[in-house]
């Protein structure tokens, strides 16, 4: 087991290095750098001015060298200008030249400086990640139990009316991407002119004219049922169908197993068969699926945070990519790649741990 984990971790680090290198290469292509120079300097810079701006800050070195600097394996590039001022990778506004460190990479814990928000990347991204963490937590709280319940209910009597209804619901939810369900929810539940809100208001059931809020901006500090429900269920709905279908398949398979038939013939009640005999074995497969859902959730988070303008990690990705904020984009991709790889690792280990047939051999 130890060796297995070690090998997986090693593989994970290699993958992470490869992926970050690709992102580094793509974000550091010349057109991007040119745009960066023009937004940082001024838009009417000549080509020579752009080249010298980039040269001074070390952007024109070979990509592997720049990558090593960004990782913190090599000292950051620095140029002393004619007037004695220092420019380079590690230079931050407000830090004296003599205090500027030689190394400033990921290994030193320095994630770079966001050129758009004019602040260290780690500060900005930290608060954004916290917001997204809150969103993800509630998504999980809603999604996992309901998906498992739907899957188990549908799978325990395969082919029954309940199964058909719930399966149709799960197919429908997997066919509804977040930007479709989000738009439908906002139009029907968060509008003051259409949908459920005005009707409930007329009946005197709710105070305002809209049932929920269409933006989740205020949920940053103060998440309420009103401003946080729609983003959460929009993400949860898309993932739910898939997990539910996997649970259903796994449950249906377990219910046809020999030991369930034995229990049935012994006269164990249906409730006990489901709760005590079938459920535990049926939940091994969905565990893996839930873990592997994280990368998809990341997608959903980007879409939903854009749609509901909730300033989290996904919103940061879109703004960083849209505004050519290179170091921020790199940090964002490191985080998302790490999330994906880490959940893959957990799902592999968890699968081995949960499944006695593999664990013992």
């Amino acid at each position: 087991m130890g060796l297995f984990i070690l090998r997986r971790v090693g593989m994970m680090i290699v993958t992470a290095l490869c992926l970050t290198f690709i992102v580094f290469f793509m974000t550091n292509l010349y057109p991007n750098l040119e745009k960066l120079a023009k937004t940082q300097g001024n838009f009417r810079m000549s080509d020579e001015a752009v080249a010298s701006y980039l040269e001074d800050r070390g952007y024109l070195q070979a990509t592997p060298i720049k990558y090593a600097q960004w990782l913190g394996l090599m000292p950051g590039h620095r140029t002393v200008k004619e007037d004695g001022s220092l420019v380079g990778k590690c230079v931050r506004p407000g830090v004296a030249p003599e205090d500027t460190p030689r190394y400033c990479g990921i290994l030193q814990g320095d994630w770079g400086f966001s050129t758009v928000s004019k602040a260290p990347v780690s500060d900005v991204l930290g608060s954004r990640l916290a917001s997204t963490g809150k969103l993800m937590f509630w998504v999980m709280v809603v999604m996992v139990p309901s998906a498992l319940i739907i899957g188990v209910l549908a799978g325990m009597r395969e082919g029954s009316g309940t199964d058909r209804t719930l399966s149709t619901f799960s197919i429908l939810s997997t066919a509804t991407p977040e930007y479709v369900s989000g738009v439908i929810f906002i139009a029907l539940l968060a509008s003051t002119r259409f949908g459920l809100g005005p009707i409930l208001h007329e009946w005197g059931l709710i105070e305002g004219k809209a049932l929920f809020k269409g933006t989740a901006k205020s949920a940053m500090d103060n998440a309420t049922l009103q401003n946080f429900t729609l983003p959460v269920i929009t993400i949860a709905l898309y993932g739910m169908g898939y997990i539910a279908r996997m649970t259903r398949a796994s449950m249906a398979e377990v219910m046809t197993a020999q030991y369930i038939r034995t229990a049935r013939l012994k006269g164990v009640s249906f409730r006990n068969i489901v709760m005590k005999h079938a459920l535990r074995n049926a939940l091994i497969a969905p565990f893996t699926v839930i873990m592997l859902q994280f990368p998809w959730l990341l997608n959903g988070v980007v879409i939903v945070e854009t749609l509901f303008s909730y300033p989290g990690f996904g919103f940061q990705l879109v703004t960083a990519a849209g505004n050519n904020d290179i170091e921020m984009l790199l940090a964002v991709s490191v985080v998302s790649v790490a999330v994906v790889l880490f959940t893959q690792l957990i799902s592999d280990i968890g699968y081995v741990y949960l499944n006695p047939r593999i664990r013992i051999s």
Partner: protein, 486 residues
């Protein structure tokens, strides 16, 4: 000119009936779930003559009610459509007007279904689809959009207006608004914006219809390319194993670990497009179909050079020519072919979108094909072919691949749906396709800014996309069910 209501004069009769049956149906379905926990299913009655008949109890009663109310709803929907087609345009309301515009689609669907059901025993797996209700519903939804796309894209039939023309005074108008100053005597079907106008005063209905043509052209083709790439790499990886497998699997996992949206943002921005990376990726990805077809034909006919050589040469010349005209476009990095020989140019945005969608999909296909190849190569017929002395490529393409077709066809349907979702995502973030493009993702993105005041410009494409993807998922489900039954 007066504004159209939703159902027009038909609605006064049909609407109340429809809503009553709809309520009955919803209540019955909810009761069905609840009652399955409370009551036991009725026991089957054994008759004196040895036959069995179904018992009746509360569960059976509720099931029957839900079934008949569903049938009633479907019958009413058909009535609405027929009324719209028969009555003069606009008299049967918005739904009737839409039904009338879609008449060629209804006709084509009707003919398809009648022919398929009559000959279903002779049509193999396709015919078996018509044994499953789910599969039929899915197929119907998919074919509805396919026919819509073909009739509007090729024959220019369904849309009432040009999808890009802006008409003054029609900005954000609600569904059924008549055109300003339109003369009832001559405007005919162009009298109304059937589904209203968007924030740039364009016709929502026509944009939805034209949008389907974009989706139906790109999604299946991109999926097909992803399958070519996945199959060409996945079969040898699974069959040979070893270093090749390790290397390719590592690459596939690398791409799979990339969050899709990040990848899109990295690939589809104008700066990256300017460097030509997408064009080079297109160059690499589009080679795979040529390799695939070449190897496929060669491995089959290499013992008969007199058939093989002309066949292979002919097909290769055509494919390479198409390949070159596909990747070479004036003004981009790759401009190899002289313009006189260039058959067609793909607009830059579409090519980039196409390439990134293929790129995202192929690793998953690779993994599926590799898994199937690993499983199938242990079968006896593969061993028999090896003993016969067949080459590895013959075994892969003519022994393993045909036997893997079941899961691959199912996954193909699911993946077209997924590709449609990806295309929508690209449009939603305004990546790749031009901003005025009528495709559904871009239209949703356009409409979402004023969503709580004017929901119709975003809701119409949202429901279209939903129905197409749902249809593909149901179709895949039906196919899976029927192919498992063999």
């Amino acid at each position: 000119m007066e504004k159209l209501t939703w159902t027009g004069s038909v609605g006064t009769v049909l609407d109340p009936i429809f809503s009553i049956i709809a309520v009955i149906f919803i209540v019955a379905v909810a009761l069905q779930i609840v009652s399955s926990f409370i009551f036991k299913p009725a026991a089957v009655i054994t008759n004196a003559d040895g036959t069995l008949s179904a018992g009746s109890g509360p569960i059976e009663l509720i099931t029957r009610v839900s079934k008949y109310s569903l049938l009633g709803l479907i019958a009413l929907a058909v009535l609405y459509i027929i009324a719209g087609m028969v009555m003069p345009f606009g008299k049967a309301g918005i739904i009737g007007a839409m039904a009338a515009r879609f008449s060629p689609v209804w006709l084509a669907l009707f003919v398809t279904f009648i022919l398929s059901i009559v000959y279903k025993r002779k049509l193999g797996l396709y015919g078996k689809l018509f044994d499953s209700t789910i599969g039929m519903i899915g197929f119907g939804l998919v074919m509805f959009w396919v026919y819509t796309a073909i009739f509007s894209g090729v024959f220019d039939m369904i849309a009432t207006h040009d999808p890009l023309t802006q008409v003054s005074g029609m900005k954000n108008k609600v569904p059924g608004t008549p055109m300003r100053g339109a003369d009832a005597a001559e405007c005919g079907t162009a009298c109304w914006y059937i589904l209203g106008g968007d924030n740039l005063a364009r016709d929502v209905f026509s944009r939805m219809v034209e949008g389907s043509w974009i989706v139906i052209r790109i999604a299946p083709l991109a999926t097909l390319f992803a399958f070519m790439v996945g199959i060409t790499l996945g079969l040898p990886a699974g069959y040979f194993g070893g270093r090749l497998d390790t290397g390719l699997s590592f690459l596939a996992n690398l791409i799979l670990a990339f969050p899709v949206i990040l990848l899109f943002y990295l690939l589809v921005t104008p700066e990256i497009v300017a460097t030509g990376i997408p064009s080079f990726m297109a160059m690499v990805l589009f080679v795979f179909p040529i390799i695939f077809v070449g190897v496929l034909i060669n491995s089959r006919y290499y013992t008969r050079p007199r058939v093989r050589t002309p066949l292979l040469a002919g097909i290769m010349v055509v494919m390479v020519w198409i390949y070159l005209s596909l990747i070479s476009a004036p003004g981009t990095v790759i401009n190899i072919l002289p313009s006189s020989m260039d058959l067609f140019d793909i607009p830059g945005g579409i090519l980039v979108v196409f390439v990134s969608v293929v790129f995202v999909n192929s690793p998953t296909v690779f993994r599926i094909v590799r898994g199937l190849a690993l499983d199938i190569q242990t079968r006896d017929y593969v061993a028999a072919a090896q003993t016969r002395g067949e080459g590895p490529w013959y075994i892969m393409l003519w022994e393993i691949l045909p036997n893997a077709r079941g899961p691959l066809i199912v996954d193909f349907c699911l993946r077209i749906g997924y590709t449609t979702i990806l295309l929508g995502t690209l449009g939603f973030f305004g990546l790749g396709l031009p901003p005025e493009s009528p495709d559904w993702g871009t239209t949703i993105n356009d409409g979402r800014k004023l969503l709580s005041i004017y929901p119709h410009p975003a809701l119409v494409p949202a429901f279209s996309l939903l129905s197409l993807v749902l249809g593909l998922n149901l179709l895949a489900d039906g196919l899976r069910e029927e192919s498992l039954r063999d």
